[in-house]
Amino acid sequence: MIFLFFKRCLVVKIRIGTSKGLVTYENGIEMSCQYPGLNVTAFHNDFVAIAHKHWGAKLFRSGIPVSAPVFPQGSKTVSGQAANLRQIWHIKEGGEKYPNRLWIATEPGALFRSDDLGESWKIVEGLWNHPTRINGQHWFGAGKDLPFIHSIIVHPENNDCIYVSVSCAGIFKTMDSGLTWEIMNDGMRAEYLPNPKPVAGYDPHQVLMHPKHTNVLWQQNHCGVYRSTNGGAQWDELSKQYGFCIAIDDQEPDEAWIIPVENETSRIPTNRRLQVLRTRDSGISWEDTSNGLPKTPFYGIVLRNGLVKKGRFMAFGTTNGNVYCSDDKGKTWQCLTTNLTKVNYISF
């Protein structure tokens, strides 16, 4: 059975960024481990980001160290300290209009842009100097000392339109490649604040745009699952379920998958059961699609960027180093490995 499953997945390559290297599987077999022993925090094509305890956050291209973003001299974090790059969270291409452009999202929470395929980087000042970060206390860390940006969305039809997600601050959108930014937080809750409806201070754990219905965005937020049908101008709360990751179907705009986590303090699977839930009706109902996952108590969770979907193929990796795959849109799951360390990032 396992053989048949992996046979069907023959063409599928899964790249898994873990706290101890970038591991590639093909047809159910580990083909390589690049950057062994290093904490791989993000990757995109041949760019790989690591966070090293001694040498700092680093960026590599095809195994060679290349320039990572640098905070300009004098830059201050929200707590007034000198801003130094701690982690690269997300690397994204600029889209068809900008073939030489790359975006990088970091901790401390900043966005950097390169227009020469990573040869040089510039901080996006329009976001770094956004009034909600500079003037108030609307940006703060969540699970990290400092706020960080973990999701970059480049609009597929208008590559000047970018969304970023900040934990904690919320969702910001630019229509001019980063010069000016609009807050897109309406409808969300921040129940951990005295005022649960601030201008900013929200915690979108992962945000995705539907590739065809681009006005449809989904997010797994600290306070629940949200969906927008107007490009993020207004968010509807679909569920109060806590979790970090979300996947959406690339055809059906009403279909999404989440992996529940009990709550912010325990950070274990709900009821200690590794479970995938799917909605096909925009969150009106959720069905359990966990066939093939462990039925015994489970303690690892799936982080943002730990779940991926492409067509009928899905995969996710857990904080305790397990990876599960599906070739039928999550109806059934197979264990790929239980031998890795914490999975930070996964991609087909």
Binding site: W55, F71, A82
Partner: protein
């Protein structure tokens, strides 16, 4: 001349790394010369603000130093990683 020795842990990032001699009168000058020989090395040792990274140690001879430590010609300067694994 200052002789600069590196922890072997840096060799995975700089495969041709070896002990070098540089003409410098301050440690920042040493690091500038190191950067010329091993482009990108400075970012491994200093953070974005130009401070020595928290888990990087510099020794002059057997004495632990910092970016402001004095050096004199003939000194051996060692770039080590701090022990952080227990």
């Amino acid at each position: 001349m200052i002789k600069v020795h590196f922890t072997s842990a840096l060799s995975r990032f700089f495969p041709n790394l070896k002990t070098i001699e540089v003409d410098a009168s301050t440690i920042p000058e040493v690091l500038e010369s190191v950067e010329i020989q091993y482009p990108g090395m400075k970012s491994f040792l200093l953070d974005d603000s130009g401070n020595l990274r928290k888990h990087v140690n510099i020794f002059i001879g057997e004495e632990m130093g910092n970016l402001h430590s004095e050096i004199t010609p003939g000194d051996d300067l060692f770039v080590f990683q701090a022990l952080s694994g227990g």
